[in-house]
């Protein structure tokens, strides 16, 4: 039995008083591609955050390559080989495109050839190559996504966690990114991908994990997902839809993309 790159063991997670994950167990084996799908507010981003140490679990443990890292600072996860591209514009607005990338490449362990990495990033996303010295904060929404993805795609980490992978990307770029993801996976990187575009995600994934209201409701190969695929993206099951109080409790804390 292989040691998984990432294992969440009966993890609960919460934002202050709001609980977001309920007893989630999940494993990603080396070189495996896992798609994480579910409606908004289901807890996909929360899992991604737990996986990269941004959010310490309230109970349960997070193992990276068999080592228990629960409660450690995110940079320990990064050094253990987990690269997380958070959802949205996760770039340093006050640094230039090149500086954003250099920061990541220079801080990576073991040492890397930064110049070669930069070249690779700019061949991957030629648009960024045209914008090397521009402040990341002035890039267009999609360009900022590209920058965030370039950082993790070039690193070829042990596990790549990409949240809302194709959000804000033009179709042609999305297709490119999935092509590169395939290559990265073939080179041995495990993938944990959060995605709204089911067709792309299912085509890539070896395994699909469906989240509903903070609980894993399906975990298996994409073929077995079958009819479920039309319903998994509905926010919660119908019973709680009927009860507005319940829906409120779930959404109460959703701040992603809220007022900035």
């Amino acid at each position: 039995m292989t040691v998984p790159v990432l294992e969440l063991d009966h993890v609960d997670a919460a934002y202050g008083p709001f609980r977001a994950l309920f007893d989630v167990s999940l494993r990603v084996d080396p070189g495996e591609a896992v798609a994480l799908v579910g409606a908004n507010g289901a807890g996909k981003s929360t899992i991604a955050r737990v996986a990269s140490g941004l959010l310490p679990p309230t109970s349960g443990s997070v193992l990276v390559d068999g080592a228990d890292l629960s409660g450690q600072a995110p940079f320990r996860y990064a050094r253990a080989g987990i690269a997380h591209a958070p959802e949205g514009r996760s770039t340093f607005a006050s640094l230039t495109v090149t500086e954003n990338l250099e920061l990541a490449f220079r801080s990576a362990r073991p040492k890397r050839d930064v110049a070669a990495d930069l070249t690779e990033a700019f061949t991957l996303f030629p648009k960024l190559g045209e914008r090397r010295e521009q402040l990341a904060g002035t890039l267009s929404g999609g360009e900022q996504r590209m920058l965030a993805l370039a950082r993790v795609l070039v690193l070829r980490p042990r596990l790549l966690v990409a949240d809302e992978l194709s959000l804000g990307l033009a179709p042609i770029v999305t297709a490119d990114v999935y092509r590169v993801l395939g290559r990265v996976r073939d080179a041995g990187t495990a993938l944990l991908v959060v995605e709204q575009h089911l067709d792309h995600a299912l085509a890539l994934a070896d395994r699909v994990v469906v989240l509903q209201q903070g609980e894993v409701t399906f975990d298996g190969p994409p073929e077995q997902l079958g009819d479920l695929s039309t319903t998994v993206l509905l926010p919660a099951g119908s019973p709680s839809r009927a009860d507005p109080t319940d829906a409120a409790a779930t959404d109460a804390a959703a701040t992603d993309g809220g007022a900035t």
């Binding site: 202050g16 959010l55 600072a73 995110p74 514009r89 920061l103 109080t245 804390a253 007022a259 900035t260």
Partner: protein, 689 residues
């Protein structure tokens, strides 16, 4: 030729400016804090150096190493660990207010720790005081003294070092990244905690170096000299756009040169130019802020990973049930009446006078509610605007013999007009820049206008009589108290109405998003100018009342800009939007030091009246100095501002909100228990986790 010589003379001063300014820019770049307390940090190192060199007679190197390379970084580390660590994702305004609090508290803490005696002739960080004709050989018209050489050399070393740090080291890049988002940096494998500690230690070392180098420029060691010098150096930081180290350096040198050239060429016989010379740096700062391109577009950096934090608890239960609103109002009226009656009958002259001054101050505090709390503009010149109101009142009453109440109205109008004139250019700036522009204005006002006789009446303050309204002669403090209470209530009503009305709503919208507000048709600059103007008018009102209260319009007694900074720190930490906070912090400002005074004087007095007390009691009583009162009060004021980090809505506001919410919840729970069939909607469900 003459000019060139003046210019060269300016270079050492320019280096002093540059050294301070570069340190500030470094702190801002690597911690996001526009650190006014930098002067305080510099002061502490300078004291330590003084004590080690002069009192303990340590060798120079040892004293220098300990004060600059040991004590200073430890202070930086301390500040980072206990304070700024928790402020990483706070806005620049919260950070600025915190540094304001530190600026107030640090020198007082230093006084408590090292004693408050004057420290004359601070020792130089150099072996000899002068090296005659060391650099300027034959027929030199002036020489550089060793301290100046040390300053120039250190400044150059620091500037070159910092340029290298940011241009070509990994650490510089990491520091800039960590400021913006510590967590995003961690995702790249950066240990943010360590980087952030390093940043604070480094900037603190620079502060210490500056303090020790600069101290000998003054006859004695004094935190406010250092602070004023720091404010003078701000022009250089703005010249560098708060980011470029080389530009900041150039700005500092230019400022020093400009000052020297003007000093040599301006006529010396006019009051205006005499006032202009010392205030030149503030004028330059103000003009730079208004005209330097590229300052307006600084958008506040938002941590892209801020969404990982749980949202703050809902600020206020918006739709408070009617009964809460009514009972709060009734409660407020009852408390005020009781307080009024107690003051009327039970307070002696001394305490009654203090209470009145406190209430008068609360009017000025309300002007801060409008400009800071509602408008989101951190104005540091409300004290100056209050002074303008007071001066206008005094001048009108003296010149025309008009009734004092008329003078009061004139004061309001003049202050509002000045406020409007100031607001038009200033409101385009945001955050830190606006605070700096208003600070520059306050200093310009203090050094250029206050000495003029058509403004303040000159050296002797103009006296202001207490008005007589109908049968009531307000020179009786008790009638004056009632008059002041009426004024406070009237101001409070206006402020509340504005806050809840369209004006307040527009300003609230503008606070978070200018573009979004514009997209629905709100004219941002106009709304801000209006808010600033109203606030200026209210400040003028408060200033006028203060003059009536004191019997004269005295700048020194009522409105120095430093006192204005304390007011801001106090109000913002109590609750920048709350009327209670304004009234309580006004009262607090006057009553608290007086209470402490009594408290600290008590042991000594007690020992005096009980001569046969045991000797250990007497010795304890001896060590407790009544002079501590002022220090302790200021430290607490400062610490108050620091707690702003925890409760951005203000401690008093937080308290009230929490207790009202708890009350509402309890009552609702009881009601719900009575009628369990009640259907909850998201509106009610959302506020309770």
């Amino acid at each position: 030729m003459q000019l060139l010589e003046y210019a060269i003379r300016g270079i050492p001063t320019g280096c002093v400016f540059a050294l301070l300014a570069v340190g500030l820019v470094l702190t801002y770049k690597t911690s996001g804090v526009f650190n006014l307390a930098y002067a305080g940090q510099a002061y502490v190192s300078a004291i330590v150096y003084y004590e080690l060199r002069k009192e303990l007679e340590w060798p120079l190197v040892a004293a220098g190493v300990v004060s600059i390379l040991v004590v200073a970084p430890l202070i930086g580390l301390l500040l980072e660990r206990v304070l700024f660590r928790y402020l990483r994702s706070a806005g620049s305004m919260a950070k600025l207010v915190t540094s304001l609090g530190l600026l107030i508290a640090i020198p007082e803490i230093a006084k408590l720790v090292f004693g408050s005696e004057t420290r004359k002739n601070p020792p130089p960080l150099w072996w000899v005081r002068r090296t005659d004709e060391w650099l300027w050989p034959e027929g030199a018209t002036f020489v550089l003294d060793a301290g100046q050489v040390a300053t120039i050399v250190s400044t150059l070393v620091v500037v070159v070092g910092l340029v290298i740090l940011f241009r070509s080291t990994n650490l510089g890049l990491r520091m800039r990244a960590v400021v913006e988002s510590p967590r995003l940096a961690e995702l790249s494998g950066v240990d943010s905690e360590r980087v952030s500690m390093a940043a604070w230690m480094l900037s603190s070392v620079l502060a210490g170096l500056a303090g020790v180098l600069i101290a000998p420029l003054f006859a004695s060691l004094n935190p406010f000299d250092l602070f004023t010098l720091l404010v003078a150096a701000l022009a250089a930081t703005v010249f560098g756009g708060l980011s470029s180290i080389p530009l900041t350096f150039v700005g500092g040198i230019l400022l020093g040169v400009l000052q020297a050239v003007l000093a040599g060429t301006l006529p010396t016989d006019s009051v205006l130019t005499n006032g202009l010379r010392p205030s030149l740096p503030f004028v330059v700062l103000f003009l730079l802020l208004l005209f330097r391109p590229g300052l307006r577009s600084t958008r506040e950096l938002v941590d892209p990973l801020a969404t990982v934090d749980a949202p703050p608890p809902p600020p206020v239960v918006r739709a408070r049930p009617q009964w809460v609103a009514t009972s709060a109002r009734v409660f407020g009226v009852v408390v005020s009446l009781v307080a009024l009656l107690v003051s009327w009958f039970a307070l002696d002259q001394y305490w009654l006078g203090l209470a009145i001054s406190g209430l008068v101050l609360s009017v000025t505090m309300m002007s801060l509610i409008v400009v800071v709390g509602m408008g989101g503009m951190l104005s540091l010149c409300q004290a100056a605007l209050a002074a303008i109101g007071a001066f206008a009142l005094a001048q009108v009453v003296e010149a025309s013999g008009a009734p004092v109440v008329v003078g009061l109205v004139v004061g309001i109008l003049v202050a509002a007009a000045v406020g409007a004139l100031l607001a038009v250019p200033v409101v385009r700036l945001d955050g830190v820049y606006l605070a700096l522009a208003t600070l520059a204005f306050a200093l310009m006002f203090q050094s250029i206008f206050v000495p003029l006789s058509w403004v303040s009446g000159g050296a002797v303050p103009i006296s202001v009589p207490r008005p007589v309204i109908g049968p009531l002669d307000l020179s009786d403090d008790r009638y004056f108290l009632v008059f002041v209470v009426v004024c406070v209530i009237a101001t409070a009503l206006v402020v509340i109405r504005l806050r809840e009305g369209t004006t307040g709503r527009f300003l609230q919208a503008l606070q978070t998003s200018d573009v979004a507000a514009a997209s629905i048709g709100i004219d941002g600059p106009r709304a801000r100018v209006v808010a600033f103007t109203i606030a200026a008018g209210i400040a003028g009102f408060g200033g006028g009342l203060a003059a009536i209260d004191l019997g004269q319009a005295s700048y020194e007694a009522s409105f120095p800009y430093i006192i204005g900074l304390v007011w801001v720190a106090l109000l913002v930490s109590a609750g920048a939007r709350s009327i209670q906070a304004a009234v309580l912090s006004g009262l607090f400002f006057f009553l608290f030091p007086a209470l402490l005074d009594k408290l600290f004087a008590f042991p000594g007095n007690w020992v005096e009246t009980n001569p046969d007390a045991p000797s250990w009691v007497a010795s304890i009583a001896d060590t407790i100095q009544p002079t501590w009162a002022q220090s302790v009060a200021f430290i607490l004021f400062g610490i108050g501002a620091i707690t702003y980090a925890k409760h951005p809505e203000g401690s008093i506001e937080a308290q009230t909100t929490a207790s009202v919410n708890a009350l509402v919840r309890r009552v609702e729970a009881r009601n719900a228990a009575r009628e369990p069939a009640r259907v909850g909607g998201p509106g009610t469900g959302g506020t309770t986790p």
